[in-house]
């Protein structure tokens, strides 16, 4: 059964990425207005119809309501004194499977390395498809979008200092899937909406200055000197890397082929790693990791990744652990029930992978680990 399941999982991975929540809500509102306008006689008929539609023969009529497991309440993030984070995850209260204690629908919660968990009610939750949140590489600073402030905020978890971006960014300008990157020191924040192609910004949260980022580029890392942007080459784009100085300018380099995902800028300041992508069928990871020269775009070295358990599906590359090893995020299987998110250190020269940590988000892709940007579908 496992082999058939794996084959079906591989096939299902070709499914398109969709975003239907707002569409369905708007459609439902339209239908509701139309029903109300149809007059009382029509409305009566529709009430009967809805009753019929809701009764689906064979539906588990006696299904138990989904109820959160009763446990100690999760406190809100205190103003100060919070230790370094292990990860952040979103909770969902109306889906199947175990519902986390003290569930708040769509809300972010953070988990410290010592296991304390806190709600982050100040981070935007519903009303927008993806609510971005990022954690600095050392786990000590978070960045999030505040609906109240209509912009990003950065908070030092131990000291409690919080800075607000100097420009307001309406939710509508965020795009559907904003990606957020935080510098190691928490001073610089880069965001773009890679998929919907809206312009982004690099924000110096201390000096209150901004640098516009071009649409269609994915920020992979940001530091006090440069923001590293990448473009995978899907959907007819020209694949490229652009190490853009924070003073502006610089120019992108074009890559010889499309890649699936890119890492942060390496410690040498001149390379990034990229996950290889088969030329056909599209989007399929080819099992390799390549070191790319950010000045010429040329591939310096390519290795086949070794040491990943069978069935592992690599998701993304992130920050560097040292001069040779970069972090790889992966799912251990293609099962739709999968809730494990595993990180590995991959040696870019030998391809050897070693496991770093296993996370258990309620829903994969709705969690964030330190040093990695908000996950993109």
């Amino acid at each position: 059964m496992n082999r058939l399941r794996e084959a079906l999982g591989e096939l299902a991975a070709d499914a398109p990425a969709v975003d239907l929540a707002d569409w369905a809500v708007e459609g439902s509102h339209r239908r509701r207005r139309a029903r109300l306008a149809a007059g009382s006689a029509g409305a009566m008929a529709l009430v009967v119809l809805v009753g019929v539609l809701l009764y689906v023969p064979g539906l588990p009529q006696d299904a138990k309501p989904i109820v959160a497991v009763q446990a100690a309440a999760v406190p809100d993030l205190p103003g100060r004194g919070v230790g370094p984070l292990s990860h952040a995850l979103r909770t969902f209260c109306h889906v199947g499977g175990p519902i986390p204690p003290d569930c708040r629908d769509g809300e972010w919660r953070v988990v410290t390395r010592s296991g304390e968990t806190y709600h982050v009610p100040q981070a935007m939750t519903s009303g927008h498809t993806f609510s971005p949140l990022a954690i600095s590489r050392d786990g000590r600073v978070i960045a999030y979008y505040s609906r109240q402030a209509a912009t990003f905020k950065v908070r030092d978890l131990a000291g409690g200092a919080e800075r607000t971006a100097p420009v307001t960014i309406p939710v509508t300008k965020l795009g559907r899937n904003p990606r957020l990157q935080l510098s190691d020191d928490g001073r610089y924040l880069a965001y773009t909406d890679y998929w919907s192609g809206k312009d982004g910004l690099v924000i110096d949260m201390r000096m209150g200055t901004t640098l516009p980022l071009p649409a269609g580029w994915d920020p992979r890392s940001v530091s006090g000197t440069a923001v590293t942007l990448a473009r995978s080459g899907l959907f007819g784009q020209r694949p490229g890397i652009w190490v853009m100085p924070l003073t502006g300018g610089g120019s992108p380099v074009t890559l010889g082929k499309a890649y699936k995902r890119f890492s942060a800028l390496a410690p040498d300041g001149a390379t990034v790693a990229a996950l290889g992508q088969a030329s056909a069928p599209m989007f399929v990871y080819d099992g390799t990791i390549t070191l790319l020269d950010t000045r010429t775009g040329r591939a310096k070295e390519t290795a086949t990744i070794r040491g990943l358990p069978e069935g592992t599906r690599p998701l993304d590359l992130g920050s560097w652990l040292n001069a040779a090893e970069v972090t790889l995020s992966a799912l251990p299987s293609t099962s739709w029930k999968e809730t494990r998110h595993i990180t590995y250190a991959v040696n870019v020269r030998t391809g050897q992978a070693r496991q770093l940590a296993i996370y258990h988000p309620q829903s994969v892709m709705h969690d964030v680990i330190p040093g990695a940007g908000t996950p993109a579908w």
Binding site: L8, A12, A15, V50, R90, F92, S279
Partner: protein, 170 residues
């Protein structure tokens, strides 16, 4: 109170998994999106009641299967390409297996295809599959047996995939 409170979060958490199931059912990216759109519109309409009863996910999954079977009865949904790519070019073995499997699935009856997706992709038990399909456990068993047998005939080169699945279905 917003009558759709929690709906966006539900869709956000589950739409990717649902799209994948819809894609396995329909075999076509556009039809998969159409199918899911149609189902989510109904789910949005009935959201408050579904939440009160604690069954949004069960309802959505069942509605998607029923909608798919209903569509298949009314129209031809898929035109698998006639020829397979030759081995040894751009496609690796796994890619060829996917293409063969996709074409074989397209030739199953709607219920056979649904039972394969429910049992072997979504990993549901026979009882859970029977509840969603609105039939008996015995019917699920026989549909599974027939579906696997047909896949074996349609795609003999994939017999390795079906061997352990048939063990489970016995």
């Amino acid at each position: 109170m917003d009558r759709h409170e929690g709906f966006r979060e539900f869709v956000l958490a589950r739409q990717q998994a649902l799209t994948r199931s819809a894609y396995l059912l329909t075999g076509d990216a556009h039809l998969a999106e159409d199918l899911l759109q149609s189902v989510l519109l109904n789910v949005a309409d009935h959201w408050p009641r579904l939440v009160r009863r604690g069954i949004p996910e069960a309802y959505t999954r069942k509605a998607m299967i029923n909608q798919y079977i209903s569509w298949r009865r009314r129209k031809h949904m898929e035109s698998p390409s006639a020829d397979l790519p030759e081995h040894g070019h751009a496609h690796d073995d796994a890619a060829v297996d996917r293409i063969v499997l996709r074409q074989a699935l397209a030739k199953l009856t709607p219920r056979q295809r649904a039972v394969i997706v429910l049992r072997f992709y979504e990993d549901l038990s026979e009882r859970e599959s029977a509840e969603i399909l609105g039939c008996s456990v015995g019917t699920v068993k026989s549909q599974t047996h027939h579906a696997l047998g047909r896949l074996r005939i349609l795609a003999p080169e994939l017999s390795k995939l079906f061997a352990d699945a048939e063990e489970v279905s016995r």
